[in-house]
Amino acid sequence: MSAGPEAVLETQGLTASYGDFQALFGIDLHVRRGETVAIIGANGAGKSTFLRSVVGQLPSAREQVSFEGEPIGHLPAHEIVRRGIALVPEGRLLFPSLSVEENLRMGAYGRRAGPWGIGRVHELFPVLAERRATPGTALSGGEQQMCAIGRALMSNPVLLLCDELSLGLAPVIIRQIYAVLPTIVAEGTTVVVVEQDINQALAVADRVYCFQEGRVSLQGRPEDVSREDVTRAYFGV
């Protein structure tokens, strides 16, 4: 399946390694403008590695990743965010020495023009306004996740990558956090969510990819893939 001209992100034969250990084996994936794409897969399948490669935290070859039609595989992370890709990293990774508000403002360091600013982020997550002066890491897990999402939005990304938003959170909090996705998408942001929670992923995604041991094991629209297909692609049985 070709991505076509409307692809915001496209990877072609993307490989990634940690030293001698190869974690990705030729991932072909594309995301069209305005789409919400979910990547699912078991623990260790390579989902986070994929996102790290896209944002430049792991090196890849120039042509293996393109963004808005230009190769970016060779660029370092700090240049990629300026082009319009933001990552909400696995485990949130707020800056412990910075307050909630400073964490948000840090997100605007490589800022592009766009709708998101402190005010809009506070509207989205009012708790971040109430707790603006607290150290980021003193927040509850759910609030930290909100802060991490807000921080990523502050750069006004074209493409927002979210790594396991639901990790370690209570179901009610997960629902709260996923409830803001439509608002983000409505601004024209293209979204990729990585999830281990299959139901959550299928519920929000226009298209879904399943990874298994560093390869794409399934892709399609949620309504076109059967439960059995997903289970097989996920667990490899």
Partner: protein, 289 residues
């Protein structure tokens, strides 16, 4: 009164030690780099000042207009060109490289300026003082040095907590990989931190050169004072570094009262006492993650 005088002189001397230590403290705080060549860079700055003063005849304090930016530029280039390459999971490479740098600087200075003892002459400023009562006189020059230390640390503190660059320093210090996701080029941020640190080193080196004799070999001893001030104050805290400098200075002044040779020893003893009682220093900010 004699004791009060000793304590006041010690506090003022502490300002110089704080200036020795500020750059060390800042770069450790931002990039966890222990710069073994720090003392030699202080001496390099002193010789730069000497060359300026001998070459142009300007007052040593005026030479700072040149030496501060020159040292800052050296700091940026040094970090960008060499030290950034040594930073990583392993703490040994930066130690070895800065140790090598220390030896190189000493030898180059020896080659260019010989092993002779030098001094920067600051004219009337060296002896001018304010008399307080009959027995206490506060020298203008030590006072200026102390106020400069206060100003530098207050300024850096403002920079760290009130500016965008300061926020980038703190974020990079917390987690430079995640800071990269924010659009921060950590190599540039580290180089800016080293530039600031060596700007302060230029100030420290020039003040030292006016206050005491110096020669190419005295760098490691300055490094030791700087280390002690940083450790006493607590890693990562600039106000703590000032306190550490003052404690060293006061201990030395009091030690000198007991015995002429007691000065240096008393400083080291004070350091050891603090280390035993408060292994993390008085005002630690840096937590290990």
């Amino acid at each position: 009164m004699e004791w009060l005088d000793a304590i006041i002189q010690g506090i003022l001397l502490g300002g110089l030690y704080a200036l020795f230590a500020t750059g060390l403290s800042l770069i450790f705080g931002v990039m966890r780099l222990v710069n073994i060549a720090h003392g030699d860079l202080i001496v390099l700055a002193a010789f730069l000042g000497l060359a300026m003063v001998n070459g142009t005849g300007v007052h040593p304090l005026l030479s700072l207009i040149v030496t501060v930016p020159v040292m800052a530029a050296i700091g940026y280039a040094l970090q960008r060109g060499i030290l950034n390459l040594t930073l990583g999971r392993d703490i040994l490479p930066p130690l070895l490289v800065t140790f090598g740098l220390s030896i190189i600087i000493q030898n180059v200075l020896l080659e260019v300026f010989s092993a002779d003892t030098q001094r920067l002459k600051a004219g009337a400023l060296e002896t001018a003082s304010i008399a307080i009562g009959d027995q206490i006189a506060i020298g203008w020059f030590p006072l200026i040095v102390f106020l400069a230390a206060l100003g530098v640390i207050a300024g850096l503190q403002l920079m760290l907590f009130r500016t965008r660059l300061g926020m980038a320093f703190r974020a990079t210090s917390d987690d430079h990989r995640t800071a990269g996701l924010m659009g921060i080029d950590n190599r540039h941020v580290f180089a800016l931190a080293m530039a600031l640190a060596l700007g302060v080193v230029a100030l420290a080196g020039t003040f030292m050169a006016i206050r005491t004799n110096f020669s190419p070999a005295i760098g490691p001893a300055r490094l030791l004072y700087a280390f002690e001030a940083v450790i006493i104050g607590g890693l990562g805290s600039l106000w703590g570094t000032l306190a550490g400098g003052v404690i060293l200075g006061v201990a030395q002044a009091i030690g000198a009262k007991f015995h002429p040779g007691g000065q240096i020893l008393a400083g080291h003893v004070a350091f050891l006492i603090v280390l035993v009682l408060r292994p993390n220093g008085l005002f630690p900010r840096t937590r290990d993650r």
